[in-house]
Symmetry: C2
Subunit: 202 residues, 2 copies
DNA sequence: ATAAAATATTGAACGATGTTCAAAATAATT
DNA sequence: AATTATTTTGAACATCGTTCAATATTTTAT
């Protein structure tokens, strides 16, 4: 019988859930191998039979977070019609997700792994939906743009939106009330969308 | 005689230089107390007589980096006349600095300290020049804006610029050739500046 | 100049951490 | 039921930042 595999999957799932809960509550910087294994009900070494190491476990939590974010953004996508309004909805959806899942969201970008062991390709690929979901409305705004240029621009737009949100949610600069942040984000997206639409040819 | 104070200042300076060199070469994540103290020629515990702890030392390195960035941006400021061009120069200057001092620049924002001991106020204040230097051209673009709104908008603009740069310099998404990044950044800044100038009243 | 007091420097020791791996426990096979 | 294969365990290890009693140094007092 496949009892072996069954238990192994169960352990992986328990560790994943425990890690997710810990990160959600305390932030990724406070995740401890001894804490997750205790929560998951296994010995310390058990982590290293289910996952490569603690970073690998965190990557799998981030993978879940990305899927959850993807679902949130899919909801925000269909509500309106014009490409500009879709971009606005995407930005607002991204902000909403960041506010509602702050620690999980922060873990997506705060998690720096050693230079000699970068993120596996499958996980880097998971980030790409963020760009593709932006590229779609962009294609309507600037149909004559090449697919490559559009990908670059999508990344630029994402960087701008992400930067505005994270600079505010960090404590480095004085905080902003959420409604204010929503408004700022919206205005910038509108400006960029208007700029994109007007620059059909330069 | 003030021999005491003299030696103390010398030790602080040696530790600061050693830490700066290490961060510049290996990144802040690879800074080790034992390495800096050895480089500085003192015992391990010496660090804790000169600085509160390793984080405090890093903050002082970041303080130097901020002053250096401030000088770089001051140079970029006077070259052109129109507020839009000044904003463009600031963004390009910021990008240039980030590229030329990648690890020191990353240390400014990657350095997360424990939640119970946030950055001291004097260091948080040092970040504010980044916003004030942006607020100045903004004031010309939108003179009727209140000072508070302008501060918020400056922060938003900085977040966008910073986000675009950091999303590219991180390995999370595929890298971009520097000229391409320069161009993307410039276009976005132009769009936002144009948007700001056109929205004199809404 | 010399002794006494004040201060600074040292580095062994501590606690916390991620990771390893031989031994014990468990599951699968014969 | 016995044997083999695999998994789980947790003590041990290496590497951190940090502390603090002991030592060395500088200042002050005589």
């Amino acid at each position: 019988m496949g009892r072996r595999e069954e238990k192994r999957e169960d352990l992986k799932a328990r560790l994943l859930e425990a890690a997710r809960d810990r990160i959600e509550r305390d932030g990724v910087a406070n995740l401890r191998a001894r804490d997750v294994t205790q929560d998951a009900g296994c010995a310390l070494g058990g982590l290293y039979s289910a996952y490569t190491d603690l970073n690998d476990l965190i990557i799998h939590v981030n993978s879940i977070t990305l899927k959850s974010l993807e679902q949130s953004l899919a909801l925000a996508k269909v509500k309106d019609k014009s490409p500009t309004d879709r971009l606005r909805n995407l930005a607002q959806g991204y902000l909403k997700f960041a506010l509602a899942n702050r620690n999980l969201w922060k873990a997506l970008f705060e998690h720096y792994l050693p230079a000699d062991t970068p993120s596996p390709q499958w996980h880097l690929d998971e980030h790409l939906f963020l760009l593709s979901v932006i590229a779609e409305p962009l294609a309507e705004l600037q149909p004559e743009m090449s697919a490559e240029d559009r990908a670059v621009r999508a990344r630029t737009l994402f960087g701008a939106v992400h930067g505005i949100i994270s600079i505010t949610l960090e404590a480095r600069f004085v905080g902003l009330p959420p409604e204010r942040l929503e408004h700022e984000l919206d205005e910038i997206v509108i400006m960029i969308a208007a700029g994109a639409a007007s620059l059909r040819k330069d």
